[in-house]
Symmetry: C2
Subunit: 357 residues, 2 copies
DNA sequence: CTGTTAGCGCATTCAG
DNA sequence: CTGAATGCGCTAACAG
C-alpha cells in the first residue's frame, strides 16, 4: 500500500524530527544523533533513520537549531559597494573562505553612507549573525568606540586603527611607495597622483599619498602639489576627468600613479584621446590589480593588494573568535593586527627598467 | 546604588524579554507588544519598557522570533559568479530592492558548477530562507523537476522555461536582433558573433544567436557559420582570443556582436592590437551595458538588459509569494512570466547611421 | 489595555 | 547505545 501523499501546499508543514523518529521507530534523540553525525549510533539504527529521513524529505530546521545552539553560522560582510570590482572580488573570496569553515555570509553594502556603516554595526541583526567583517569608508578615528560591540568583529581597511579589535590591513604606504619608486627607476621625473582625498589623515588615499611622497623624497625629487589631483570617488569617469584636468593645466606629467585601477583606466583613456602614448609619453600605474587591468590597452601595471590573503585571514580570525579560541600568534587579551603584503604586477602601461634614458 | 555591571565576557548572555519585563515591571507580552509596535499600548507603559530596553541594551533574538514565526526574513540569491560585473550589479540591485521590503539577502555564488546550482536549490538552507531568486547557468530543460521545491522561487535567465515557477527573463532574442540590425543599418555586411555555445538549445547564447540570425534573414544577408566564434566563458580574455582566431582565419568581418561587454572589450583590444580601427574598420556591439562599457576606447555600444527592472520585479514577486498574495496580473494558480525590455545604448564603437556607405 | 500560558523544533541533560 | 523530559527566546491565543 502506498504511503499517504505529502501535502506540499504550504511550505510551513515540513516534517520534523518527531515525524522522522516516529517513522523510524526510534526516539527524537536518536534522530538528532544521526543528523549531527554523533559517533555512537548503531549501524542499523542509523540506516533506519536515514531511510525515514529520505522518505519524508526531512531537513533540519535551522532557526530552531540556531535558537538552541545560540549561534547562527552566519557572518556579515559590510562593504561600501558591491559593484566595485575590488569589493566584488573581496566578497567572492570571503564567501568562499567562509564556506570552507561552514559559515554563511550576509553581504551588506553600506553604500558610502555613514549611517549605513553604523547600521551594519548596530543594526537589528546582532542576534542573526555570529560575527562581522567590517570595511568602513566613512568612519574615522572619532568612531573607535563604535567598534566596541558585543560580538566578534574583524576590521578591514585603513580608516580606523585601534588595539581593541582584530584588524587586517593592506600595505598602502608601501605599495604606493613601490609604485612611485618603480616609475622613478624607469625614468619618470614628473609623477602625478590621481585620487587624493585632501584633508583626510587616514584611509587608503592618505596612506597612498604618504607612500608617494616617501618615494619622491628618497629619490631626491621635489613634491609638487599641482601634480596631485583629488578625486572623492574612484570610478573610471573620475580618473578620466582628473587626467583631463591635469592635461588641461599644461602640466603634463611623465608618470601617473592612480589610486585604483578604475581611475587608471580613465586616465589611460584621457591620455590616449589626446594622442599621447602610454607608456612612451606617460607611464601609468594603478592600484588593486583588478581582473580588468590586464585587458586594458595597454595592459595596466598595478599594485596587487593580496586580496586572497585578506579574505582568508579575516575569515579565519573571525571564526576563531566565534569559537572562543585565540587566533594564531596573538597573546591573550591582545588583538590581531596584520598587514597583508602587496606586490607590483608589471605590465605594459609602464616602461621597462632597461628602457630608461 | 549603581546597577550590577554587565558582563560582556561572552556575547551569549544577552538580556531577554523576560529581563526587560522584570525591570520594567510588566509582563513579557507587553514587552513583545512594544517591540513589535503593537498599536494598543499605553504611552506610559511603552515608555517604561523602552527605558528598560535602553538600560539593558536589549535586542530581540532573531532566531527565536524566526522559530516562532516560521520564517526568517531572508531570501537567497543564487548566481554563477559574483565577480562578473553583470551579477555584481544584479546582486547589488536585488539587495537594495529586498531591503526596501524588509528582506535580507544571502548571496550564493554557484561558481559555474552544476552541483553548486543544485545545492543552492536543495541545500540545507531551506529552513533558513523564505525564498530564492535563482539564476542557473548549468541546468537545462531536463532539470525542470528540480525547480519543484517547497518554498517560493523566482527563476532568472533563459536556461529553463516552465509554467510552474515565476520567471523573470530578459529580451535576448530581441536584443541580439536589434544589435545586429543596427550594425546592418550602419553599413555592415559581414557581421561576426562572439560567444556562442554550440550544441545548446537554450540559454542566453542560443537565444542571442537566434536573434542574430533573424536580423540577418530579415535583411536578406546570408548566414556564414565561420563568422560565429564559440566561447564557453565570457571573460575578456575569451573575447580577445576569439577575435584573434577570427582575424587569423583571414575572414575579417566589418561588424562584431559580442555576447557580453567583456567579450566585446577583449575583441576591441585584439582588433586595435592589429592596427585596425573601431568603428571605421570594424564595428563592435556588446551585451549588458555594464558600467565599464562607457570607459572603453572607444566607448562601447551595448544592449542594456534592464537589470533594475529585473531586480525590482523579482524581489516583488518573491515577496508576494512569501506573503501568500498573488502577484499583480497573474491568475490564480498561474505563474509570472515576464520579459524585461532591453534597449540599445549607442556609443562610439559603432558607426553612426548617417555614416553608412 | 495587560498578564498567563503554551508551544515553534531542536539539542541536551539524565536515566535506563 | 537509546528514550523521556526540559528549555533556548519569542509570539499568539485566551483570559482578565
Amino acid at each position: 500500500m502506498p504511503d499517504v501523499s505529502e501535502k506540499d501546499s504550504m511550505h510551513s508543514s515540513m516534517p520534523t524530527m518527531k515525524d522522522v523518529a516516529q517513522r523510524a521507530g526510534v526516539s527524537v534523540k536518536t534522530v538528532s544523533n544521526v543528523v549531527n553525525d554523533y559517533e555512537f549510533v548503531s549501524g542499523t539504527t542509523r540506516q533506519k533513520v536515514n531511510q525515514a529521513i529520505e522518505e519524508l524529505g526531512y531537513v533540519v530546521n535551522v532557526p530552531a537549531r540556531n535558537l538552541r545552539l545560540g549561534h547562527t553560522g552566519m557572518i556579515a560582510l559590510a562593504i561600501p559597494d558591491l559593484t566595485l570590482p575590488y569589493f566584488a572580488q573581496l566578497s567572492s573570496l570571503v564567501i568562499k573562505e567562509a564556506k570552507k569553515l561552514g559559515l554563511r555570509v550576509l553581504v551588506e553594502p553600506t553604500l558610502y553612507s555613514r549611517q549605513g556603516e553604523l547600521e551594519a554595526l548596530h543594526g537589528s541583526q546582532h542576534s542573526m549573525i555570529d560575527g562581522l567583517i567590517y570595511s568602513p569608508l566613512e568612519l574615522g578615528m572619532g568612531d573607535v568606540e563604535q567598534l566596541n560591540v558585543s560580538y566578534p568583529i574583524v576590521l578591514l581597511g585603513e580608516r580606523i586603527f585601534t588595539r581593541d579589535v582584530d584588524h587586517v590591513a593592506t600595505e598602502n604606504v608601501e605599495g604606493a611607495k613601490r609604485a612611485t619608486s618603480y616609475l622613478i627607476e624607469s625614468g619618470c621625473r614628473k609623477i602625478a597622483v590621481i585620487g587624493t582625498h585632501p584633508g583626510e589623515e587616514l584611509g587608503s588615499a592618505a596612506l597612498r599619498l604618504t607612500g608617494y611622497k616617501q618615494a619622491l623624497e628618497e629619490a631626491g625629487l621635489p613634491f609638487d602639489s599641482r601634480l596631485t589631483v583629488p578625486s572623492r570617488m574612484w570610478h573610471r569617469v573620475d580618473g578620466e576627468s582628473a587626467m583631463n584636468e591635469l592635461l588641461d593645466s599644461g602640466l603634463v606629467p611623465d608618470g601617473v600613479v592612480a589610486f585604483n585601477d578604475m581611475l587608471a583606466a580613465g586616465a589611460l583613456h584621457a591620455i590616449q584621446m589626446r594622442g599621447l602614448k602610454v607608456p612612451d609619453d606617460i607611464s601609468v600605474i594603478g592600484f588593486d590589480n583588478s581582473e580588468d587591468s590586464q585587458y586594458l590597452s595597454p595592459s595596466l601595471t598595478s599594485i596587487s593588494p593580496g586580496l586572497h590573503d585578506v579574505a582568508h585571514l579575516s575569515v579565519q580570525v573571525l571564526k576563531n573568535r566565534i569559537d572562543g579560541v585565540r587566533p594564531l600568534g596573538v597573546e591573550s587579551g591582545e588583538h590581531v593586527f596584520c598587514k597583508i603584503a602587496s606586490t607590483l604586477e608589471i605590465r605594459n602601461s609602464t616602461r621597462p627598467l632597461t628602457q630608461q634614458k
